[in-house]
Each structure stands twice: as structure tokens, then as C-alpha cells.
């Protein structure tokens, strides 16, 4: 009998809920996986009976990371119900706000949430700072000059203080960390450098958002930041944007490419092959005409991208803690909690299992990038092809953990570059908002792309009040459980077959989970069935 070890990765809940991953490992490889979590249950009860125009003020409080996307999705679904066309200026401001979020969130994900799965911070302490400088110049000659000795001293002080903060709980010294001390020091230095850039992105976001987090300038019918759209404020925005573009071009992208070159095997690990994108950054009034297009890709077949047909979306609850077994479309969705206890053979998650035409779909940067690529988006094709050539990889390698990491960086560059065009399209004298005529009875939907992936809000209005409100969020698509047909969710499937060197320190599993950018801070409980031991490990988000 092959030896089977069970690992449970059970993170601590933060604002958006709780994610737990359980895997079975046989002969060093993942042979089964279950993803279990809680998200958003109960929010409907808060929204029911309220004014539709107020819903966004509540939905943007659902999550601390994705505040804007839930705000804009909400106003859009009400606009859809009201049949409102918003002014071009409002559409452009929303594109800029969403773009700002991508530029903020993606580098934060790479440097502060994901890099530590690849970069050994403790190893950086033994680096030769001079050698690191020479190497850094090779990786990116135009990167800002960094005093690596100073960074190393800072790190040492930090580590010696015993309060590791964001570095606590890393599997430092694990054999899966393949970078040299000098490489680790460069990434550690850029971790700190990226914090500074993150501040710029947050400040840029506040220019037209009035406030960060929980911005204030959205309304059903448009935006209210008209007074901020002056040449002074636009130039301020541009100054931040240009600095961020320098950072993306000379630090973020080169760092991603170099990391990929050092972990080539991860371009074949952790992939999935069904993708769904709703599209984002509207070119005009149609929600289906977007700078990043929507589409459906099945079985990794990029030769055929289908248009999204919303009627094909259903949410299964047969393996989730909700009453009933029938799969329903979100517009007629119901959320009746029915907790029956965690049982991987039966119900095991608070997440529903969204399916598209019955299939589990990956959403997020990789889905968007592949959809745009397959649809012949000129700039995207150029970026992807360049990347693959430089790394000596093929399109097949995009269906992987590294593909996800790279897609995030590529679309960050694409959007940052496009933001200049949007800025130039703002018409300072023009209209920014129209008065919506909210119907007494009606229904609306909004489909967007949050940085983490496809997001849908559905509203039903009755007696001019919210009768029902449903959301299908990116993490539900990616981290949802099995469906009625027993098909695994994307992350569950992506984990299958992964080699895990040391079940006590499952860094390989974390690499795959984190590559999806789940919006969760987590702790890990590992149960080794053979030795009846429980380890508790704090995971860096």
C-alpha cells in the first residue's frame, strides 16, 4: 500500500471569510484535494428592502481588498436595471479607478503576498551585497539603484528583533527555495521598494476616488468627482502613473521574468484549462465591448473563444452548506444556509460551486490574458509572445502556476500604458453623471473583472426596493467545491499531481493556491495521519 498523508491547510478567517484546503498525498504527490471556504453569505438580508442606489455603499464594505470593484459592480447592475447609459467621462473615470486598482493590487500580490513562496528572506541575510548589485544590473539595467548593504542591514535588524511580522511563518530554508542568497536579497529589496510604489498607487486612486479605502465618488448614473477633473489633478495623476509605469517596466516585469527563469518547472505545474472572463474597461456603452475582452475558453483550446452566455451560469449547492441540491442561475439564486458539518464525502464548503455550462472555470488574470490573446488583442499578443520567447516557453506553459504570475504582470503593463489614453479622453467641461430613473420593478446584472477575476452582481427590484441581490465572486469560481456532477473546482483540480517534498512544510501547495490570489489571510493546520501530529503554521497571505 502506498503511504497516504493528509494535509489540511486551514487559514484563519479575515473579513471575507475562511479558506481551508485539504489534500491527500500519496507517494509524495497530491492525489485528492478539497477546497472549503465561507464568503458573503448573509449579505442579501442586509440589502433586501433598501434603496437600489444605496447598495454600493454596502457592497464595497464586503471586502477590504476589493472595495472599489464591489462598489462599481453594484452601481452597474442598478444602471442595467434602470437602462441608464452613463456619460463617457464617467465611464473613463471608472476605467481609471479600476486600472489604478490593478496597478495597485497586482504588484502587491507579487511582492507582498506571493513572492515569499519563492524567495527565502533568511537566505538574503547571507548574500554578498556587491554581487547582488552586479546581478541586479544584469536583470534590469534601468532599475533604480538600491543600496543592497543597507537593505540587508535593515532585514537583519528586523529578523534579529524576533518580531518577523510579515515574514513570520515562512518555510525558510526549505529545499524548494532555489534562488541564491544574492537573488533572494534582490527580491527582498524590491519587496521594500514595492511598498513605496504601492503608496503612490493608493494616492493616485484617491485623486478621483476622494478616499481610500471605500471611495466615495461613485453614484448610480455616473461619478461625482467632476470638480477633481482639472488639469492640475490630471497632471498629479499622470505623475504618479508615470512613476508606476517605470516601476512596472523596470522592476516588476523583469523580476517576474527572472523568477520564472529560475523556476522553469513551475511553468508545467498547477495549471487548469477552462477560462472565463467577463471583460473590463468599457470602450463604450456596451458592457460587452471592453478593452480587455470577455470570453470562454474550454480545454485550453485557444483556437475557439466563445462569447459569454450568462444563461449558462449556474451555482451548484449539492456539496455546499446550503439547503437543496438544485443548481440555479444567480438571478434566481437563493442562499439558505444549512450547515451539516464538514464532510469531504458530502457537503464541505460554504462556497457554492459556480459552473459555466456545467464546467468549472478559472477566472482572473490568466483567463483575461488568454482570452485577449486568443481574440487577437494586438498589444496582448505582443506582450505574451515576447515573454514566451524570452523564457523559451510555449503557449502550453501558460496553463500553469507561472502562467498565472506572468499574466498578472503582463496585464498590469497593458493597463498602465492604456491609462494614458483614457486620461487624454477626459472632457473636463463635459457631463459626469445623469439622473437614473430607477424602475419600480425590474432586474439588472453587472459583469466585471476585479483584479482577482470575473465578478457578477445581480439585482431584483420590487416596489422600488431591493427584493433580491446575489453576487458571484472570483474566489467562488476559483476556490469553489465540487458540483452536483462531482467535478472538482479549479484550485482543487490544479493541485492534483503536485509533488510535495515535505508535508510538514507544503510550500508547493501554497504556491498554487497563492497564484490564484485568494483574498484571504491564513493559518495552516497540518494533520499528518500517520504520526497523529498537528502542526500549526502561520501563512503569509
Amino acid at each position: 500500500m502506498p503511504e497516504t498523508t493528509k494535509i489540511t491547510i486551514d487559514p484563519v478567517t479575515r473579513i471575507e471569510g475562511h479558506l481551508k484546503i485539504e489534500v491527500e498525498i500519496t507517494d509524495g504527490r497530491v492525489t485528492n484535494a478539497w477546497s472549503s471556504g465561507t464568503l458573503f453569505r448573509g449579505v442579501e438580508t442586509i440589502l433586501q428592502g433598501r434603496e437600489p442606489e444605496d447598495a454600493w455603499l454596502f457592497t464595497q464594505r464586503l471586502c477590504g481588498v476589493c472595495t472599489y470593484v464591489h462598489g462599481v459592480s453594484s452601481v452597474r447592475c442598478v444602471e442595467d436595471a434602470a437602462g441608464v447609459s452613463i456619460p463617457d467621462n464617467a465611464r473613463i473615470i471608472r476605467n481609471l479607478l479600476m486600472g489604478g486598482l490593478y496597478i495597485h493590487d497586482h504588484p502587491v500580490h507579487f511582492y507582498h503576498l506571493h513572492a515569499l513562496d519563492w524567495v527565502d528572506i533568511v537566505s538574503a541575510l547571507s548574500a554578498n551585497p556587491g554581487a547582488a548589485k552586479i546581478l541586479a544590473d544584469t536583470i534590469s539595467p534601468s532599475a533604480p539603484t538600491i543600496d543592497f548593504e543597507e537593505v540587508q542591514t535593515k532585514l537583519r535588524t528586523f529578523v534579529n528583533s524576533g518580531q518577523l511580522g510579515p515574514f513570520a511563518g515562512g518555510y525558510w530554508g526549505h529545499s524548494a527555495y532555489q534562488l541564491t542568497p544574492e537573488e533572494n536579497l534582490i527580491y527582498a529589496a524590491h519587496y521594500l521598494y514595492a511598498l513605496r510604489e504601492q503608496v503612490k498607487a493608493a494616492k493616485m486612486h484617491a485623486i478621483f476616488g476622494a478616499k481610500n479605502p471605500h471611495l466615495q465618488s461613485l453614484r448610480v448614473g455616473g461619478v461625482t468627482c467632476e470638480k477633481q477633473v482639472t488639469s492640475t489633478r490630471i497632471n498629479e495623476f499622470k505623475t504618479y502613473l508615470n512613476q508606476l509605469k517605470d516601476f512596472i517596466d523596470h522592476v516588476y516585469l523583469p523580476d517576474v521574468k527572472y523568477l520564472a527563469s529560475k523556476y522553469p518547472e513551475w511553468a508545467s505545474i498547477g495549471g487548469f484549462n477552462n477560462y472565463l472572463a467577463f471583460g473590463e474597461f468599457q470602450n463604450g456603452n456596451s458592457p460587452w465591448d471592453n478593452y480587455l475582452p470577455g470570453g470562454v475558453i474550454l480545454n485550453g483550446n485557444l483556437a475557439e473563444v466563445n462569447d459569454v452566455d450568462l444563461s449558462k451560469i449556474s451555482e451548484h449547492v449539492e456539496r455546499s452548506f446550503y439547503a437543496g441540491t438544485s443548481a440555479r442561475h444567480p438571478a434566481s439564486g437563493e442562499t439558505i444556509p444549512n450547515y451539516t458539518g464538514y464532510d469531504t464525502k458530502d457537503r464541505y464548503s460554504w462556497l457554492k460551486a459556480p459552473r459555466y455550462n456545467g464546467e468549472p472555470m478559472e477566472v482572473g488574470p490568466l483567463a483575461r490574458v488568454l482570452t485577449a490573446y486568443a481574440k487577437g488583442h494586438t498589444d496582448m499578443v505582443k506582450l505574451v509572445d515576447e515573454l514566451l520567447t524570452q523564457l523559451d516557453l510555449t503557449m502550453d506553459n501558460m496553463h500553469s502556476t507561472l502562467g498565472r504570475v506572468a499574466a498578472r504582470a503582463l496585464e498590469t503593463k497593458l493597463i498602465a500604458d492604456q491609462m494614458d489614453n483614457w486620461l487624454s479622453q477626459l472632457n473636463t467641461g463635459g457631463s459626469f453623471i445623469v439622473s437614473p430613473d430607477i424602475p419600480t420593478t425590474g432586474a439588472g446584472a453587472a459583469l466585471n473583472e476585479a483584479p482577482r477575476g470575473a465578478l457578477g452582481h445581480w439585482i431584483n427590484i420590487d416596489d422600488r426596493k431591493i427584493a433580491n441581490y446575489q453576487m458571484v465572486v472570483p474566489s467562488t469560481w476559483n476556490l469553489g467545491p465540487r458540483c452536483s456532477a462531482g467535478k472538482k473546482g479549479p484550485v482543487e483540480e490544479a493541485l492534483m499531481g503536485t509533488m510535495v517534498v515535505n508535508p510538514e512544510e507544503p510550500v508547493e501547495i501554497l504556491r498554487i493556491i497563492h497564484s490564484y490570489d485568494p483574498c484571504l489571510a491564513c493559518a495552516v493546520h497540518i494533520i499528518d495521519t500517520n504520526q497523529d501530529k498537528t502542526y500549526t503554521v502561520q501563512v503569509i497571505k
Binding site: 448573509g42 464594505r61 477590504g64 511580522g165 513605496r196 493608493a202 494616492k203 479605502p213 471605500h214 489571510a521
Partner: protein, 161 residues
Amino acid sequence: MKKLLVLGVGNILLMDEGIGVHAIYEFWKEKQDWDETLVDFIDGGTFTQDLFYLFEEYENILVLDIVRAGQTPGTIFSLEEDQLRKEEKQMLSLHDIDLLDSLGMARMRGYCPRLKVLGIEPDKIDWGMQLTPTLAAALPSFVSVARKHIGELLAISIPST
């Protein structure tokens, strides 16, 4: 650099979880009583580590949040940063990890303000916009204790209300 940031954190959709934000709303009502060159009152909401950039602009931070310490709901606690680090993380509200990470990040960047947390034991955390009756009743004293702390941090005397 301003003297003090009063940061209310929490999720107002989760009943008592949002009391820090509710307290900030109370302070906004008395905005004219405070010298805005010395102190800001910010609704941090469901913030994440990315609020650390704010930390660089203040000498002191007073966080208003819930603290779960197994005490009677409504019990008010004052904690210094080193106490936060020594105590079990789970004792604090859902935001503590980000709070400490934010401080760590600010420190690594070279500057870190002095942190104080004023917390209150919650009664119930579940979907709902209202505080529980217990915490709604405790809110005035929570705000009043906060007022006293603010006065101390600003080294000014606060008229008792």
C-alpha cells in the same frame, strides 16, 4: 507630520465588528471641537495592510477596534503595541494581522508611529448593520474613553462630556 491619527477599523456589515467605525462617525459629528492640524479621524473600514502609507504621516496612531478577550461584552481595553505582539493573535479582531503587518512594513521602510489600540469586547458578530443593544449602550463610554486618550496623546485637556 501630524500628531495623531485616530483610526476606526471594522466591518459595519457585521454588527459589533463595526464599532470602531461607528465611533469615528461620532467623532465626525464633533469635528469642530478638534484641531485638524493635530489630529485626523479616519474610517479605516475593512482595511488591509495597504493602509500602512497613512502610518508614515503621524507621530501616534490610536486604533479603535473590537478586542476579543473573553470578558463581558462592552468591556473596554487599552493596549500598547508590545502587548498586541505578546498576546494571542486570535484575541484581537479580524484586523490585527494586517495592523501588525502594516506596522512591520512601515518599520521596514524606516518610520513607524507609536501605536495604541482602544478595544471593546463584542457581544455578537454576524450579518447586520446594527450594534447589539449592549454595545450600542457602551458606545458613548467607548467614545468618551477614546476622547480621554486623544487628549493625552495630544497633551491637551478635554472637557468632560
